[in-house]
Amino acid sequence: MKKILFISLLIITGIFADEPTHFVLDNGLKVIVMEKHSIPVAAVQVWYDVGSHDEWDGIRGTAHLFEHMMFRGTENYESEEHARLINEAGGYNNAFTSDDVTVYHERLPAGKLELALKLEAERMHLLRLNEDILATEREVVHEEYRQRNANPIGKLFLKFRGQMYPDNHPYAVTPIGIMDQLDTVSVKTCQAFYDMFYGPENATLVIAGDVDLNNTKVLVEKYFGSVRPLGTLPENPDLSVPIQTAKVVLNEKSSFDLPVTLMGFPVPGSAHDDVAALDVLSYILSNGQSSRLNQILVREKQLALGAGGFPMSMKGPGIFIYFSFYFPQVSSATIEKAIMDIVQDVRENGVSETELSKARKQMLAGKVFERYSANSLASSLGNAELIMGDYREFNKEIERFNAVTADDVQRVANAYFTEEKMTIMHIQPENLSFLKKCMFWVAGLFM
């Protein structure tokens, strides 16, 4: 145990040489740098503080469609040339759009840092939009949408999420958007979106890996220093709109041949003090074969093939989701009760010190393993800055996690996991034959 604490302290107190630091350019661009010199690899990520929650009705899906357009040409580079140059350098690049942020990322040989910075700076202020390319990318996004819909459970998950956030909440529509609205998005709309959100003071540049801080400062200044700030940023949407104020039960059918149950409870945003205790609870409930949900649902009661519980972490209100996929002869009521019994046990009796120690060590080990990857470090730093509010939370995470007590876990379970605010979705296979249904009904009597 002494050694564990020693390792934790090394990380928490910043004795490791490779701790993150930051600087800010005159135009407002915040730059976070973490040196890690074990192997000549660098990760460059630009986190824009714009996501689907910034959209308004009529342009749902624009943040994501626009992300595609960011690869489609600038003043000095042709369409897709950004990606090809990164590949040619031996690197990989891509982007993603969430409810809260849009992130562009490169992972490449450290010696090519300058190339990545040059290309990211270029598209931060010299993007060139084109109607034909927009039409093509719109089709690509339609294909992405269809691909997701090919997964029957994925499709229903969108409905489940939509139920938890009311229509007037900025998270009501997911980043993929509404296809009918996307069809009306023009170059003009995209240009307005770019002019409104894509500027240095609305972005954070994260660089991790085998880089030198002083040299990085010079390069960042060279390429981003001349990017003009937007001047005015739109007001952040109001994320405090209440979500899920009453219990909702949804019964669905799907072509997936196992029944699935999803249960969601509203939880606070990532910067809230209770999130650490919810994270600890998530480890205890579903991290590893010995976690409670797996032990009870899969092994002891043998009701399910899999089960888990985790918080969907967002800047605004999130959802703590429990899920299980289970044997067809088990009723949805049985599985619901089994999960709620586990929740109720935590509410009434809390968790043990052994479970707490295990969760702490799992968290610590995860953080140590993470340190091998420059890209993972950059992602964690960006997430801490944009979603949790401060990149220094990256290092405080273990400290906050270790400070959580059994009482804290019990308290958050009582505060957030109440049936009155639960959305539950039971998904049943639609193609069970009558004979099979009868067999399962009989079998169910003995379970």
Binding site: I39, A83, G90, Y92, P152, Q289, F327, A365, V368, Y372
Partner: protein, 449 residues
């Protein structure tokens, strides 16, 4: 420093960590390297027995064995094992691939001894309790029914079968094959897990002398019994013309196109030429020809890719994408015109330069984690390569000429004799795909025959 790119004639040599290599009296090959970046250790053990060694009709047996290995030993129950492993924050997993089985672990450095001891317990003393066997079989028999909710899995299952036929590589696990597996089958298959066909790679934050002592104490007593497995020879069956299957899934809004043809085995003089050709054709993401034409210009898909996979005795080239139903034929035609162009025109010197540049630059990216290094070393060793081969692979790749790449394309890519599977909504696309050629038809939930 773990990695350095030393440039010799513009082709870097990669420095892998310095391994101490030896063979234990029981035949177990051991490779150990210190890696002190973080307080963690990684190990991978490869045992040269895989799902291709399972008798026909018992498909799924190798996977069931791997699943059951941590479900009880002489000293611990399944629950005790998972509790002990989870309490370290590390992980220990057994999995069986086509050609070999892997037991891999990652732990904090302070738990090295525990990790090695637990791995040793699993490979030597798994007991396969009856109740665990019953539970695992029950889970697998239900779980197996869900594979067809993913159109890509459906396409690849049919594609593999059409290419590889009634072999362990072509046949898939079904409810029927699972039903045929007994606990004695599992116990007998486990007997193939033996030290004389195993290699252990250990990398991490330890002193080599300490690690060697721990390995000796945990695995020194492991003994091989009887004769090792005799792997059946693999025989190619040529494809003559287009082998085309349509798989109907009435729910789909997209059609999945999946193509396969014979490629080259892992040990082949054209392996670097083929790797480079594939990058240019469809392996290089946004830098590939297929992505440029089918997505970038046509907007017909979210993604399209090609690959060149290779095993000890055979290889395959594949292409896959998905597109909206009305565009299935046009998308297929776009892919075929690119395949024909590749065959007729080959690749250009500029494309080749960029492909070499990608592989040369990306090498360190694949070696960030000691776990990745261990995996890459074991895979190379299995196919008969050495650490030196790994270190000089970029020299060989960079030495490939344009003529050699284009000759390899002529020799190995075939636009005529191949397998095609399309998974989609029959009502909407059956007529559209008829001009491609005659096909047989299956329903997406059916077993693959």
């Amino acid at each position: 420093m773990l990695f350095s790119g030393i440039v010799i004639a513009q082709a870097p040599i990669i420095d892998y960590p310095e391994f101490e290599t030896y063979t234990m009296p029981n035949g177990l090959k051991v490779m150990i390297a210190e890696h002190h970046e973080n307080p963690a250790v990684f190990f991978n053990m490869m045992i040269e027995v895989g799902s291709m060694d399972v008798p026909v009709g018992k498909e799924g047996l190798a996977g069931i064995m791997s699943e059951l290995v941590p479900k009880g030993t002489n000293d611990h129950t399944a629950d005790e094992i998972s509790e002990l492993i989870d309490a370290t924050g590390g992980g220990l997993n057994a999995s069986t691939g086509l050609e070999y089985t892997t037991v891999s672990g990652r732990f904090l450095a302070e738990d090295l001894q525990f990790g090695l001891n637990m791995m040793a317990e699993l490979v030597q003393h798994a007991t396969f309790p009856e109740k665990e066997f019953k539970l695992t079989m029950k889970q697998n028999k239900e779980g197996i029914k869900t594979w067809y909710s993913d159109p890509s899995s459906v396409a690849s299952a049919h594609g593999d079968y059409l290419l590889l036929g009634e072999t362990p590589m072509g046949r898939m696990t079904t409810e029927e094959t699972l039903k045929s597996i007994t606990i004695d089958d599992v116990k007998n298959f486990y007997k193939n897990i033996r030290p004389d066909i195993a290699t252990l790679v250990l990398i991490g934050d330890f002193e080599t002398s300490v690690a060697k002592t721990l390995i000796e104490s945990s695995l020194g007593g492991w003994a091989s019994k009887g004769k090792p497995l005799n792997r059946a020879a693999f025989a190619y069956e040529d494809i003559n013309g287009l082998k085309f299957r349509f798989v109907d899934n009435p729910e789909l809004e997209q059609a999945t196109i999946y193509m396969l043809q014979w490629g080259i085995p892992r040990i082949h003089e054209d392996r670097y030429a083929v790797k480079l050709a594939n990058y240019i054709f469809g392996g290089g993401a946004f830098s590939s020809r297929l992505m440029e034409v089918v997505r970038g210009e046509g907007g017909k898909t979210y993604g399209v890719r090609s690959w060149a996979s290779s095993r000890m005795n055979y290889g395959a080239f594949g292409i896959s994408t998905s597109t909206r139903n009305p565009e299935v034929y046009n998308t297929y035609q776009l892919i075929m015109s690119e395949l024909n162009r590749l065959r007729q025109e080959g690749v250009t010197a500029e494309e080749l330069r960029k492909a070499k540049s990608f592989y040369t630059g990306s090498q360190p990216l694949s070696l960030e984690s000691p776990g990745a290094i261990a995996g890459s070393v074991l895979s190379a060793l299995y196919y008969g390569f050495t650490i030196e081969d790994l270190e000089t692979s970029l020299v060989k790749l960079n030495a490939v000429t344009l003529d050699e790449v284009n000759a390899a394309i002529q020799n190995h890519y075939d636009e005529k004799n191949r397998v095609l599977v399309i998974v989609g909504n029959g009502e909407e696309i059956r007529e559209l795909i008829q001009p491609i050629g005659s096909f047989d038809e299956a329903f997406y939930k059916d077993d693959v025959h």
